[in-house]
Structure formats: C-alpha cells, structure tokens
Assembly symmetry: C2
Homo-oligomer: 275 residues x 2
C-alpha cells in the first residue's frame, strides 16, 4: 500500500494541488506545518515522498530547501510546474465592501499589494499559511475577513471567490519537486533531466571549463546558481540543472565532471516536466 504524501501546508494549499496533479486527485496527504517537518516525516518513514517548492519565477530559488535536500542526502525524483494564481475568498454573501481585513502569508500579501491599493479600507494582516486562513474563516464562520488562496481551497472550504487572479504579476510559475529518501526513481525510462551540485575553487575559468564539458557532451543548462561556501572563503558551490536527449550523453558528462569538480553530487535524476 502506498503511504500518504507529505506536503507543506494543509489540504487546499498549492503543495496539495501539486500532490494531486503529480500523483492522483485522490492522493492521501500528511499536512506539515514546515518544510523541516515534512522532511522529518520522510526521514522517519511516515512517508516515502514529499512535495517541495524549489523555485519561483518572481523570487528565485528557495535556497534553504536546496540545503534540506543536500544535507539529508535526499533525492529529487520528479518535478512539476504550477502557475500560482491568488484568489480573494470569503464567506458566502460577502463583498469587497464588507471585507475589513485580509489575512494571508506575507509572500501572498506582497504579490497582491497592488490590487489592494484600490481598497484602502481593507487591512492586510500577516498569517502563517494561505489555505489555513480559508479553513479558519469557513470553520469558525468568520465575517469580514477574507483569505487569499487557490480555487481548490475555495471549493474545499466552501468559500465564495470575490476576485480572481489578484496577484500583480499574472504569470507566477513555481517549480515544485518530488523528493524521496534515496534515488529510488522507479520510472528510470523517461529520465532526461538531472540536478547536480559541485564545488569549485575561485580560479579564473574553472566554471567555464565545466560548462564546456557539459556543452561538449550535449547537455543543456536550464538553471545555474552559485552559492559561496560559508565556512570556506573563495570556494563556491554550484547548483545546476541539465537536460539531455540520451542517457549516454549524460553518463559521459557525469564521468568527466566527477573527476573535474570537487564534491560532485547528484541531487536527482528525473523526467523534465517542460517539453
């Protein structure tokens, strides 16, 4: 029997939506109040898979989540891109005029700030989670307070949507990954993407040399991010995503990079979700 999937947040959250889209619309989930706690569930075998947001077209990489994967030697086995749409929702019968406060996650409030400039009577209040507010408003029948959350949350908690897609930047894509304890990706056939980490000295041309190997082996770079190593001045860690057409090309590049870069590590091998 499959164990439930660990998600950050509660049912109706964007992580829940990804679990439903990636696995199945009826997928059982474990609601976790933080990424750390979802990882704990994974490490203690309460679950075999978790959903984790990793980067965002507005805010960039969520570096602490890269660190969670790296430090616990977890493995990325899949990815999913979700276009995050924020909707304003409240109890049935409410209108924009009757709403006094909107409670949501600071990031959601920030992304919708422009919309609320037209409604100066609505106070913005920071809350822990987007879907959690929707659940509370519904459960406790709270009048005058609106939530910002997904359409999923509105239907799950039976709230009315007062305004759709209220975020300032309309196309707001977030990349989620499916993470397991080890690289036990069962669908090895379709694999055409890998997430890699390696370290290089601060020496002129060292990164260019590695990228030349990738290019020579027909690997495409879809993401690169340098991060100075805190404990070691002048040493850099690089997080790189590559796509490839044939596994043979990847194996060849892998063999060379393993020799050339320090602490070369595969964070995951999986199917590219963008084709």
């Amino acid at each position: 029997m499959t164990k439930p999937i660990a998600i950050q947040g509660i049912r109706g959250s964007f992580h829940h939506e990804v679990a439903q889209k990636y696995f199945s619309s009826t997928a059982e989930v474990i609601e976790c109040m933080s990424f750390d706690s979802a990882v704990d569930n994974l490490l203690q075998h309460q679950t075999d898979s978790m959903v984790m947001a990793l980067e965002n077209s507005i805010a960039g990489s969520i570096i602490p989540n890269y660190a969670l994967i790296d430090n616990h030697n977890l493995s990325i086995v899949g990815e999913y891109y979700l276009d995050i749409q924020h909707n304003l929702m409240a109890l049935k019968g409410e209108t924009l005029a009757t709403i006094k406060e909107v409670h949501s996650h600071p990031m959601a409030l920030l992304q919708c700030k422009v919309f609320f400039k037209d409604y100066p009577h609505i106070k913005l209040v920071e809350a822990k989670d987007t879907a959690e507010v929707a659940k509370q408003v519904s459960k406790d029948n709270i009048k005058g307070i609106a939530a910002i959350a997904s359409k999923n949350a509105a239907s799950l908690y039976q709230l009315d949507i007062l305004a759709e897609s209220i975020q300032t930047i309309k196309h707001n894509e977030t990349r989620f990954v499916i993470v397991r304890r080890e690289n036990n990706n069962l669908e090895r056939k379709g694999i055409n993407k890998a997430s890699l980490k390696f370290e290089l000295d601060h020496k002129r041309g060292s990164l260019a040399t590695i990228l030349n190997v990738m290019s020579d082996c027909k690997l495409n770079l879809t993401k690169i991010q340098s991060l100075p190593k805190i404990e070691t001045p002048w040493k850099y860690a690089f997080f790189v995503d590559v796509t490839f057409d044939t596994h043979k090309d990847y194996e060849k590049a892998y063999a060379i990079m393993q020799i050339m870069a320090e602490n070369f590590k595969v964070l995951g091998e999986y199917k590219n979700a963008k084709t």
Copy 2:
C-alpha cells in the same frame, strides 16, 4: 550638502549599521519601511544613495531587489559585507526567565529557532522589523517582551543584551550594496568589480561561450544566477558579478559580451569589498 541616505528599516537596523560603516558613523539616514519606499526616495531625489541588502550566505539572492535595480535602471556604486549577529535584548532587569514573548522579523525568528528550543516558555511572535521592536520595548517600557536585533539597536534604545549571537548558523554574512540613480560613481579609480546582466537563448553552450570570453579576458566570476524570463519561455537572464585586476581587461570583455549577449546591461561598477 550631502542628502541623508535612505535605508530599509529604522535607526539601529542592519541597514543603518551598513550606512554608518560605509559612509560615516554620523551619517544622516531616511528610515524607510520597505525597499520599494527607499527606491521611491531615490527616484524623487529625497536622497542620492540608498543601502540595500542583496544576498545572504544562508538564503541566497534577494531577487526582488535585483528587479528593483534593474527595472528602475539604478546603479550599484559600492558594496559592503556585514556579518549579521542576532542578540536577544530587553529592558534592564529582565532575565531569560522573566521574558514571556520575543517579537521579531520572521527571518530573524527562523534563524534563532534552535536557541529558543531550550526556553519553551518564550513564545515567538512575528513582527515587521527587528530594530522596531527594540525601539517599542524601550519607548513604551514594555516588560516581559524581548527583541532580537543588533548590538547597535541595544545601545541606541538602551536595552540590556540577555544573550549574544543567538542565531543557529554563527557566520551569517549578508552582502549590501550602495545604490544610486545613475552610474555617477565618483571614486572611479579603485573600480575592480562589476555587476552585469544579460540574456541568452536556451541554446546548448551559449553560457559556456560567454564564460569563456570572461575567462580569456582574465575576469573572475564571483557570482552567477540564472533566472528564467517570465514572458519569454526558453530565454534566460543571468546576473553575474565579476572582479578584475585592470580596467583594460574589463573593457575588452565588456566590448565582446555586448556583441555576444542580448540586452547586455551593466548594473554597477565599483570597488570589490572582499580583498
């Protein structure tokens, strides 16, 4: 006469500390409640310089701040690295036993979470700003509530430090930049670092080619960050920092890169603060 410097946060904040260290310990500042509002001060000529946090050894780049510089065509004219140390502070006479709540910025609370595990009677409450809480506690003589802020804030608001350096990761370096409206860097002499932005097609080897040019021209890469262009699939923007020994090397690389990369843009030319 020099105009005051715009900072994010109030006196006693880490931005204030950078303004004092970079300019002068008596530098006048304009306290701004957000990065957006500090930029507004700059655009409306209330100030000629602002201090802006840009990246952090724990959380990575603050992408929205890169976007502020880029979208408003501002210019980085200097940088400063600050080792951020969080201290627990309260009114004189308080001890860890008398403190019931600690109020601070979510990021500061997160970074000090491990410390508070030993003090389960202290409730963590999210607040807007680190120094703001210190000011409030002092001004309103609030008992039982502690702030997490800099030593500067403790001395400025006459609070006692109950515990020093309470953040989990002891070395917590943040890179701040000094930003002006245009590239009117007066100290052109010592310039040996530049922040660049360019775009590339998702074509195999396109980044390697650019990095080869940099390497051939003796430029050292100190940071690289790719960001997918939201509106244009398969097109990537790269934010790159380079250092160089002679301005001639930089000029040569600049001339070539301008031809090879699309929308090549200099975000700033300044003196490397790490030597």
